[in-house]
Symmetry: C2
Subunit: 159 residues, 2 copies
DNA sequence: TATTGTTATACTCTATAACTATA
DNA sequence: TATAGTTATAGAGTATAACAATA
C-alpha cells in the first residue's frame, strides 16, 4: 500500500476547491463564451441563424450596400470566411449581392424585405436569450461587462 | 443613375458608426475571446501549450491523481475530447496515466517533475500575456470582469 | 445496468494560399 | 501592383455514438 494513492484521497478529496485556472481572465472568458454560444443556439433553434450568420445579417441590415470586404473587416474575420455566410443568407433570400457602378469588382450587400423581417425576429430571440442567461446580472453589471470586453478587443486590435 | 447606390455613399459613409451588435454581450464576448486566444498563442509560442492543454496540465498539477472523467467535468468538456489532450501531455512527459488500486477502470493522472516545471514556466508566460492584453484594465476591473464572467458560466451550468 | 477510457466520425469556425477579374 | 470576391484546403476544437473492460 505504501506509495499508493487513491484518487478518492487526492483529486476527489477537494473536488470543489477553486482551481488556479479561475484566476485567469482567458479561462473565465472561454467558459463564459461557450455558455453563451450554446444558449444562443438553443434559443435560436435549429432553423434559426448561427451567431456568425446573425451578426452578418445584422450589419447588412444596419449598413445596406456594405461590401463583403468591409463586412469582413467589421466582423474581424477574413474575406474568404465570409463567402459561405453570405451564400447562406442569399440562399435564404435574406440579402442580395448587387453590382455597383464604378467598380465592377465589388458586390454590395442589400438586405431583402424578408431579410429585414428575419433579422427583426431573430433580434427578439437574441434579446430574450441574453436576458435569460444574464438574469443574475443587473443593468450596471451588463454595461460594465460590455465596456470591459470592448477594452480587451481594442487592445487586441491595436497590437 | 436613378436608384443606383454607391457603397461609398452608403455603408462606407458611416464606417465607424457603432454597430447594433455591440449592444450584445454575446458578440462582445466572442470578439474579446478571440483576441485573448490569439494573444495566448502568440505569447506561448509554437512550442508552448495550447490553451486547452495548459488548462488540463494546470488542473493535473493542482489536483494530482485526478481522473480523466473528473478532469473533463472540471473543464466542461466531454471525456472523449480529453483523450487527445492527455495523450499529448503524456507524450511530452508532463504526466503519467497510472492505475489505481480498487477500480481498474480509472486512470489517475500524475504530473511528472518535468510537467510541474513546464507548468510553472507556462504560468509565467500566461501571466505576462494577460498583463499585456489587460494593460488598460486596473485590478478592480479585472476582478469585476472575472466575477461577471463566472456568473455567466454558473447560470449556463445550472440550466 | 452504469461508468471509464477509448475510437471513429462529423461538424463548426477559422485561417492561409492561390486564383480571376478587375482597378 | 493592388484589391474584391472566390475556391481549395487544412487545422483547431468540440460533440455524438458506440465499444471493451470493469464495476
Amino acid at each position: 500500500m505504501a506509495g499508493q494513492v487513491n484518487p478518492l484521497q487526492a483529486g476527489l478529496q477537494e473536488p470543489d476547491k477553486t482551481s488556479d485556472l479561475e484566476a485567469f481572465v482567458g479561462y473565465n472568458l472561454k467558459r463564459a463564451y461557450i455558455v453563451m454560444q450554446n444558449d444562443f443556439r438553443k434559443a435560436l433553434g435549429q432553423d434559426g441563424p448561427s451567431a456568425r450568420v446573425f451578426s452578418a445579417l445584422s450589419l447588412t441590415v444596419q449598413f445596406p450596400n456594405i461590401t463583403q470586404s468591409m463586412l469582413a473587416r467589421k466582423l474581424g474575420i477574413e474575406r474568404s470566411g465570409l463567402v459561405a455566410i453570405i451564400d447562406e443568407l442569399e440562399q435564404l433570400g435574406h440579402l442580395k449581392r448587387t453590382h455597383v457602378p464604378g467598380d465592377r469588382r465589388v458586390q454590395a450587400l442589400v438586405p431583402t424585405e424578408a431579410g429585414v423581417a428575419a433579422y427583426q425576429s431573430a433580434v427578439q430571440s437574441v434579446r430574450a436569450h441574453e436576458a435569460s442567461i444574464l438574469a443574475h446580472l443587473d443593468k450596471k453589471e451588463i454595461t460594465m461587462l460590455n465596456v470591459l470586453l470592448k477594452k480587451i478587443r481594442i487592445q487586441g486590435e491595436d497590437s
